[in-house]
Subunit: 212 residues, 4 copies
């Protein structure tokens, strides 16, 4: 059982390397198998096709990431108090969440980079959009609270747009950190400033009082 899987493991390793180097589309199964020292036929014993090989690399990390995001963002939270205290609380929450997400991202650094930057051509090519969507709902809620909206009916298309952007930006922060920092520690440090930037943006957005 231990030795059994060695080929599969080797295959996955080599595939990861090739996918990172060339991206999903340009990666060649031939080349992966050559590197792994097996024939393409062998690969097809373990994986249905190119897509499934890719999936076997990124699926688990992605699930882990999704779960972490869901754990923090998915449920509705009850904040009480005035706008400012809500904002403070919500953002503090987000900061904790972000730290956890960062942990996952760096735990599976290669796989996440693969997902975020090199998945074009695979079924994961729109994964970023779906991550954005995940936190968008949560952000929209938070936004309503901060704005003091009593009902969702008050949300305008414009509100939605800016909230969508902020969700997108949050994800982008993660990708930026993942791409430009060598380890979680450094990322954690840099994230503080980025978070600071983001919170500044949120507050300005809520107040909408800088440019008229």
């Amino acid at each position: 059982m231990d030795k059994d899987k060695q080929t599969k493991i080797k295959l996955i390793e080599c595939a990861k390397k090739e996918f990172i180097e060339k991206g999903y589309m340009k990666a060649s199964l031939r080349s992966i198998c050559r590197e792994a020292g097996v024939t393409t036929g062998a690969m097809y014993f373990f994986f249905k096709d190119k897509e499934e090989l890719f999936e076997s690399i990124v699926a688990a990390p992605l699930m882990s990431l999704m779960n972490t995001i869901r754990a923090h963002f998915d449920q509705e939270k009850d904040f009480i108090g005035d706008v400012n205290s809500i904002t403070a609380l919500a953002l503090k929450d987000d900061y904790v969440a972000a730290s956890d997400i960062l942990s996952v991202l760096f735990k599976y650094k290669e796989e996440c980079l693969l997902l975020m930057n090199r998945a074009q051509g695979s079924k994961y090519e729109k994964i970023i959009d779906s991550l954005v969507e995940q936190i968008y709902e949560h952000y929209l809620l938070m936004y309503c609270r901060m704005k003091g909206y009593s009902s969702k009916k008050n949300i305008t298309a414009e509100d939605k747009f800016i909230v969508h952007w902020m969700a997108h930006d949050q994800i982008d922060i993660f990708i930026h950190l993942l791409t430009h920092c060598k380890d979680e520690k450094e990322a954690g440090r840099q994230m503080k400033n980025m978070f600071n930037y983001m919170v500044g943006g949120w507050i300005a957005t809520i107040r909408k009082d800088i440019i008229k």
Copy 2:
């Protein structure tokens, strides 16, 4: 003279469509030519290769975009006064610049989308990085002024990181607007909020007083 260029125009049109649909890499010259109703040989009369065909679509818009960016961001500007007034001025400047850039982006909407989202595999695949780099230098300067640094020597690696992020974010705002707004008018409207968000971020970054 009118009929003369029709084949070339048809070819470019069909190429644009195919590139947008499938991305640079997956686009097939055969398929483009079939759609345009000519043989591949005909295409090679007008264009040296796949790359040049792509270039003929995006080169002019890109140049236009680059020039607009350069016009606003490239020169050093002299601001006088205290931090707050400098910030206000600089950001106002940027807002004007952004409006102009938005104009170019929507004037060549399809081509810019091609460049930003579908150029993987072509020599333009890193175009976003180079746009970021363009404004990064300008942002770094602005940042120093706002921070009250007397010399560039004061800039830390951390400063550079956050400024680089802000440059990246600025470009991302443009891409987001281009991708999600149907026309320039709508984009202009939405941009106000995004700009507001960004400025809030900048100020928070300069003051660095929200999260410690």
Copy 3:
């Protein structure tokens, strides 16, 4: 009339260059025309096809060469005397002939090199064989005289083989000189030794007395 032919001349010049560089087969008409500054269509006004373009370069020099060879080798000559004096005479004759041929070869150096070394793929690709054949007949006759054969009937297949080789060798000497000497003068000098070698070979062949 003078300016008229300029395009044709330019075309021939560029073709010569391209054919020499790449050989008949790899030479590209496109590339020739590009170099000449005209379209391929223009070329087809002057020349029926690739073959005729090549021909227009080498035909005249080849004719000149053929004529020179024919003038010296084609007619039967009457030698009187014993074997040795016939040999001496015949070879002297050949030496004169060779000098004349060398003159033609160097007069049209580029064209002849084209013919001898770069015609593969064209209808001239077997030109060397036909040159060999030309002088073979003459050599066979000379050989009979020297051998003291009274009738052609005495010639064996073995005789023919060696005479054919010597004819081939003669042509090879020319090609070698053309290929390795920078001008006629140098070729003339080197030819002396080569001729000496050849004559030594002839005499040994006639006497057949070195290896048994």
Copy 4:
């Protein structure tokens, strides 16, 4: 095991045929595969590219040929005695060498013909020159001995030229025999006369006494 390699063998056979018929450049992989009854993809399973397919045909015979040449020509030989006896010895040696080389040539007749006459466009297109160079060094040495030169310094450019020619001629003899004789036996017979011719040439060259 018997049936295993049949496709590869078929492929090589058909390739040999096509290469001989059309030469390296004009040979079409499609046509070879069609003849062999497989798709081009199958060919690419066995051979990296056109070049390697060609190589797989000619490499072994070439190696064999090179080794045979090297075995006879590469080492310096010690001859003692006067010019005439040295000449006799050296030439006898060469005769033996030539017989061995002829053996190899006819053992791999088709492959050698391919190499000598039809390799234009492949990396073997200059193979003849390199064969010439191989024996040139040996010939130069022999020539010095025969001339009675005490040092290599005495060799003139003219000496080199004629020796180079003689080396070239030696190779040409092989090619001539290979091209014009149906089997080794016939070639061996004809070679005697050609060798006789060559030796006559050598002696005349050493003595330099025929034409002044």
